[in-house]
Amino acid sequence: MTPAIDIQQLGKRYGALAALDHIDLVIQPGEFFALLGPNGAGKTTLISILAGLTRPTHGSAKVMGYDVLSEYRAARKRLGVVPQELVYDPFFTVREMLVIQSGYFGIQGNDAWIDEILYRLDLADKAHTNLRALSGGMKRRVLIAQALVHKPPVIILDEPTAGVDVDLRQSLWQFIQHLNQEGHTVVLTTHYLEEAEALCNRVAMLKQGRIVALDSMRNLVRSIQDYTLELRLSTDALPAALTAWPVHHDGNLYSFKIKDYAEIESVLSILRTSGIRILEMQLLQPDLEDVFVNIMESVPAGAS
């Protein structure tokens, strides 16, 4: 099967700075893929190269088997990109803009599909409103609509929910999930890790232009063994037997690092024998954020 995105030894240098450094990445059709990393890790550079906005210094990138440089027309027809910046053309209404965008992709008479995306993105009543007059959230939805006019099999969203309120975020994710279920390959970047964890099935983490983790969401989250046992105790002094335990506390709220469930029992029994009462108890599962912090801290700068 032709990969949706096929990146080989891709690199981009700006003078001495390597924005991307020998990236290899294959994304299969139908995946819901997250590209994570701190600001400046190279996520947007990677997306820009796929979109043809930036030229790579070395290596190759293909969309649905078409090289983004030598076969740029075929590659761009198969790719829908939602840019991070909230850009718009102040001369046109929402509908005019979507008709124009269809034309750029060689499509005429796209009205039925335009109506459908307007409806699905809840923009139907704004169809004849000038883009200048729309709120930020509305402009974001128009950007998504623009990326979809040519029904691209691969959709890339660069921080689609940055600065978007909770309601809209929910409905955007539902919409994007729906697109994925219909067979579109979805690649996104986001700083909301809990959203990435809930939606995506595979993750690449970037740091300083390199991929430092690439795995399924499940494997990544499982890679962290530590649970956190959070206890609010009747005292703010721990018994001597527990002082050696990896623990973090804030007043009488203690967070114990636990490697497996059996350890919970030992903590509880020490507390019981010391006559300390437990006021509140919570067991925290590791999440993507823990993995992210762990990986970003453990990989030294510039390591290969």
């Binding site: 820009s48 930036t54 027309r73 840019p83 046109f92 034309g103 750029y104 992709f105 060689g106």
Partner: protein, 251 residues
């Protein structure tokens, strides 16, 4: 070709939606030049024998309007799209560099010619239509609008900020059009200035265009045609190369 037509349409709508500012305003300012200069100079200057100064001036003003507005269209469209960031919609699309070039230049030509026609129409209404208009006039109007559309495209690509584009306009386009013989015949100048005028590409456009009205010109219209066709070819080659290489547009 749908991509090209759509971009051309978008570029036309861009100025048409603000036609008060992009077409009527320049027609009015040309008309002001005409009123003032004809009032001051009509009875004192005769450039070509038997041709009144106002009649001599009209083709020059028409051509100046064509040139300045063709330049303004592509350059301001590009710089606005670059600065607001919406150029990304064109860059993400499967448009070839040739389609982008033709659409921007085509829209510039149409804006330049629309303003030129407006100036011509108003002048003809005030001062009566010129005795005859030959194909030469149309040919030079097309060449001039194309040339300035391409120069505007290059200026829009190269400039990063509005003030850089304004410098381009104020220190290059404006002096070259004013000193190209719009208001006078270069034969009336001292030899040094005559020589310098011949280095100004816009001189050939005005001179050839005027030949289309009076059958008289400072130099042969064939020479002007060759010089302009060669300039257009060279500058188009440069613009196409900039677009193809993605200079300042694709990093």
């Amino acid at each position: 070709m749908t991509g090209f037509y759509t971009l051309l349409y978008k570029e036309l709508m861009r100025f048409w939606k603000v036609s008060f500012q992009t077409i009527l305003a320049p027609v009015l300012s040309s008309l002001l030049y005409l009123l003032i200069f004809s009032h001051v100079l009509e009875s004192r200057v005769e450039v070509y024998e038997g041709v009144a100064y106002t009649v001599f001036l009209i083709p020059g003003l028409v051509m100046m309007a064509v040139l300045q507005n063709a330049f303004a269209n592509s350059s301001s469209s590009l710089i606005q799209s670059k600065i607001t960031g919406n150029l990304v919609f064109i860059l993400l699309a499967p448009l070839s560099y040739l389609e982008i070039f033709l659409a921007y230049v085509g829209a510039s030509m149409l804006r330049g010619l629309a303003v030129g026609l407006g100036v011509y129409g108003v002048a003809a209404w005030f001062y009566g239509p010129p005795p005859h208009v030959s194909l030469w006039a149309i040919l030079f109007a097309l060449l001039g609008s194309a040339l300035l559309g391409v120069i505007g495209l290059i200026a829009g690509i190269v400039s990063d900020k509005f003030d850089q584009l304004a410098a381009f306009q104020n220190f290059l386009i404006l002096p070259l059009t004013f000193l190209s013989g719009v208001f006078y015949s270069v034969h009336s100048l001292p030899p040094v200035w005559q020589f310098l005028s011949h280095l100004n590409p816009f001189f050939y456009l005005i001179d050839g265009f005027r030949y289309g009205f009076f059958g008289v010109s400072d130099i042969s219209p064939y020479i002007s045609l060759i010089v302009m066709a060669a300039s257009l070819a060279a500058i188009s080659g440069w613009a196409l190369w900039l677009l193809k290489s993605g200079y300042k547009l694709r990093h």
